[in-house]
Every structure is written in C-alpha cells, then in structure tokens.
Amino acid sequence: MISDVLEQLLHGLTLGAMYAMVAAGLALMLGVARLINFAHGEFFMLGAYAFWFGYSELGLPYAVAALLAPAVMVIFGVAYQRGVIRAILPRSWHVQLIATLATSIVLTNLAIIVLGAQPKEVPTVLSSRILDVGGLRIAWQRLLVLAASLLIFWGLHRFVGRTRTGRAMRAMSQNREACAVVGVDVQRTAMVTFALSAALAATAAALVSPLFNIFPDMGTTLTLKAFAAVVAGGFGYVNGAIAASFLIGLTEALAGSYVSYAYKDAIAFLIMIAVLLWRPQGLFGRRIGI
C-alpha cells in the first residue's frame, strides 16, 4: 500500500517536473516580455513530434533525438518570433491572446492534417526498464525526467542570476522603460527569452514522450495547465510557477489514482481557482520581477 502511494508520489513529481518546465517558459515570457502566449503548448507538441521523428523515423540515438527537439523548436521559435511575436508584442494583451490562440489552433490542426490524429508511441530503452526498490517500481525514464529537470532548473537559475542576458531579463521584468534608457537590448533579450521558453518546452517533451502518447491535441490542455500554474504561482514569477506546477502534478497523480481518473484534467483548474479565491494575486503575491 505504502509503495503504491510512493509510486503515485513519484509519478506526481514526474508530472510536476514536466508542467514546471513548460510553466517556467511561460512565466519567463510573461515576466520579461509581458507576453501572453497561448501557443506555448504547441511548442511542446511540436517538440514531441520532432523527438519522435528523430528517434523513431530517423533512428537517431536517444540523446541526439532528445537534443534535436529543442534545437528544432528554437529555430521554429525564432522564426515565429520574427513573424508574429514582434508584431503583437507592442499591442494590447487582447490582441496577443487572440493571435496566439489562433496560432495554437492553426498548429494543432495542421498537425492533425500532416501527422494524423492517431496517437504515436515512442518507447525508449529507459521507459521500459523498471527500477525495483523493495516493491517500489519506477521506470528509469521517470528518474531521468526528474534528474534532468532539476539540472535544468539549476542551470536556468544560474543563467538568469549570473549572465549578462539573464540580468537583462531580470531588468526587463522589473522596469521595461528604464531598460531601453540604460542600453539593454530589449529586442534581443526578448528573443532570447522566447527561444529559451521554446527550448524548455521542447526538452520537457523529449524527456516525457517515451512515457506518454504523442497526439496533436496534447498542447492545448498543457497550455491551460501551465497557465493555471503561472497564475497560481503569481503572474510572471518563475519560481512560483515551478512550485505551483509541482503542486498540480502531485495532486493530479494522487487524485487521479484515488479519487477519479476522468476528472484529473480539471484538477489544475480547481487548484488555480482555490488559490485565487484565497489570494487573488497568486501564491507568491505581487513580486516585482521574475
């Protein structure tokens, strides 16, 4: 019994790690560039398909395919940024929301047309190997997800905290107008942030794809849950989004197992709604900056 609960906890952590990587990217864009990106989940979806293509179709080794996904998505992200984001960034957030929602619809349906609506499976060596520790069974891939995500978060923390670009990102999130005055390259920083958020989503996809099915619609629900985490964590505050993501992942896994599997998708929103009812500014309040 205890091992069951522990297994679910580990599943929850894996889920939470995935949500956290996606939500972190979203929070970064929100905090640094004030951009509402409803197509964010599609970076995950396309990244998953890129991984599938590399691993299943091209037969690349896992590590290469897993790095291919973020690489492809960064290129796509830059192109998208040039084409669409740059045009909508100075506009009202209504425009941003509708534009990115439209993008999401276009990408999802194009994926259905080009890649087919049938879910694809990408089992890897690690996803089928199970680690058995005294009755507690967990796929190696899940451990990889957890370890990789911790590494990524540590890297992100250092990047934002130590590098010049990271400092520019923090400055932009606190006071955008002043940035242009002191010589921060606002456009370039925004682009780097965008590429970073796309890479985070795609990496999460590459890590998690061996465990779940890949299908064109997977981005939509993910975007919503990531937003729920971002909102619950305190709009634009990256660590808050990460914390909220783990909370959502754990609750989803436990509730999915012990309460109801069917409604687990609604869990994220119930949490967000509960948090907002208690503190309308999110768990970590109105902090200034990312």
Binding site: I36, V84, A87, I88, R91, W93, H94, V95, L97, I98, A99, L101, A102, T103, S104, I105, V106, T108, N109, L110, I112, I113, T220, T221, L224, F227, A228, V231, F235, S260, A262, Y263, D265, A266, A268, F269, L270, M272, I273, L276, L277, P280
Partner: protein, 316 residues
Amino acid sequence: MRRAGWLGLGVIVVAAPWLVAAAVPRQQRYVLHVLIFTALFAALALSYDLVVGHVGSLSLAHPAFFGVGAYAAAILATRAGWPFLAGLPAAALAAAGVAALVGVPLFRLTEHAFAVGTLGLALVASVVANNWVEVTRGPLCITGIPKPTLGPLAVTTLPAFYWLALAALVAVGVLYRGLTTFRLGRAFHAVRDNEPLAGAAGIDPLKYRMLAFTIAAALAGGIGALYVHYLSVMCPEEMTVALTVNLLVIVFLGGVGSLRGVLVGAVLFTALPEVLRLAPTWRLVIYGGLLLLVIVRSPEGIESLLRRVTGARAGR
C-alpha cells in the same frame, strides 16, 4: 431611401425559405440548414459581444454557458418531458446561474488571470460534459430531443425552424441594442474604456461586468436550448475551445462592439465555410490563419473598413 433598403432586406430575409425553394429546389434542405445555423450563431456571437465588445472583459467561457443551457434543455426534454417553452427559460436560467456563481470570484482577478480563469472554466465544463456520464451520457451524447412546440404549434419543418431561429436572432438583437445604447450602454462603455474613472463617476464596475456577463450567459444558454431542439442531439464536442475560436473570429473580424459588424461576421464566417464545404480541420486552419492575419494587421476588423466607407460619425 435607406429605409426602403432595410425593408427590402427584411423582406428577403423573412421570405428566404420560399426564395430558396424557388432558386435551388434540390439543395433546399441544405441551404435552409446553413441559414438556421447562421441565425443561431449570429445570436450567440451577439451575446458574446456584449461581454467582449461592450464591457471589455475577454471571457473565454462562453462555450461553457452554451453547453450548460444546451444540456439542461436536452436533459429536461428527454428525461423529464418538459415542453420546449418551459425548457428554454430553464436553460437560460441555469446558464445565468453558473455565470453568477463563477463571475464573482472571476471578476476579482486582474484581466489576464480573468481570461485564463474563464478558459479554465470552459475546460472544466468540457471535462464534466465528457465524464459525467450518468447525466450527460458523455461521448454517447443525448439523443432523441423532440422538435420544439410553441403551445399548439409544432415546429417540425425546416422553414418553421428557420423562422423560429430568425425570431430568436431578432429578439437577441433588440435586447443587444437596448443594452448597449442609452444610459446602460454608456455605463458599460465607461467601465470598458476607463474603469478607474467609471468608479469616480459613481459606477460600480463589478456590478456592470456581472450584469453583462450574466445576461450574455443566459442568452447563450437559451440559444443552446434552441440548438439542441433543432439537432435533436447534444454531444460534448459542441462546447469545446473551437467554439470560442469561432466566436472570436466572428466578433473580432466582423467588428467588435458593433451590431452590424457582428452580424456581417456571423454571416461570412458561418455561411462561407459551409458553402465551401471545408473539412473541419482545414476550416480551423484557415480561420486561425485569417484571425492571426487580421488581428495583427487591422485589429478593428471589417467594421472599421465599413465605417470608413460609409463615413459614420465618431463617438461610438
């Protein structure tokens, strides 16, 4: 001169079933079906524009209210044998009730969180519709919803349904006009355009946003009831995010905040894809692409073009 034009248009619209029967006798059923859909969608878009265009709250929850009304009417008709004239107000009330309940906490949020919150509501409603099988029959759908009866009259033929849908559209249109002009309209627009100043003018923004939100939800629920009585079937797929995208396209490309704009948008974006026989996926790709293009290039939509052409006055 212009009066004659409007009158002529009115006559054509009312006489449509006969004109269609004469012009395309073999496509009659299909064309009428498209017209009915267009009328219902136009009414739904108008109700949505109340919230988005006139009070300025970007709600993404409209499918939830449509769905609540649709399912309420479907369940009351099939399980409890309620007649249409009783089910319709019940559906509207149910939707309004949900809106009143969630509106209060939702409107406490900042604009962005509000949008996400409403999106979440739509998702939760969708999940419930899919999984609460005992009530909604989930993916199996509720079937066998009878044709509506207006007292002794049974609305069984397509032309009759067309006139019913048209009457609903007119009713919604009249209500829309009444709500968005004169003092109430001014109050809504004040809240939309400058909320702090509206407060200083003694206007309670929450009260007016809730009013628009709840009325819009009631209308959406009522239209949902009409919808299910027309199709005889209600499935969870009818209340997904795709519906929101449809509505956003109609409202933003047609002309947000304008009766004429929304009507034009509804006709264009409901009838056109039907005429072109687009597959749903391609339709969404094109819609999304168009929406993207227009919103990036010209946010006011077709209405601003129309305005420039007809030279309407400022201050609307």
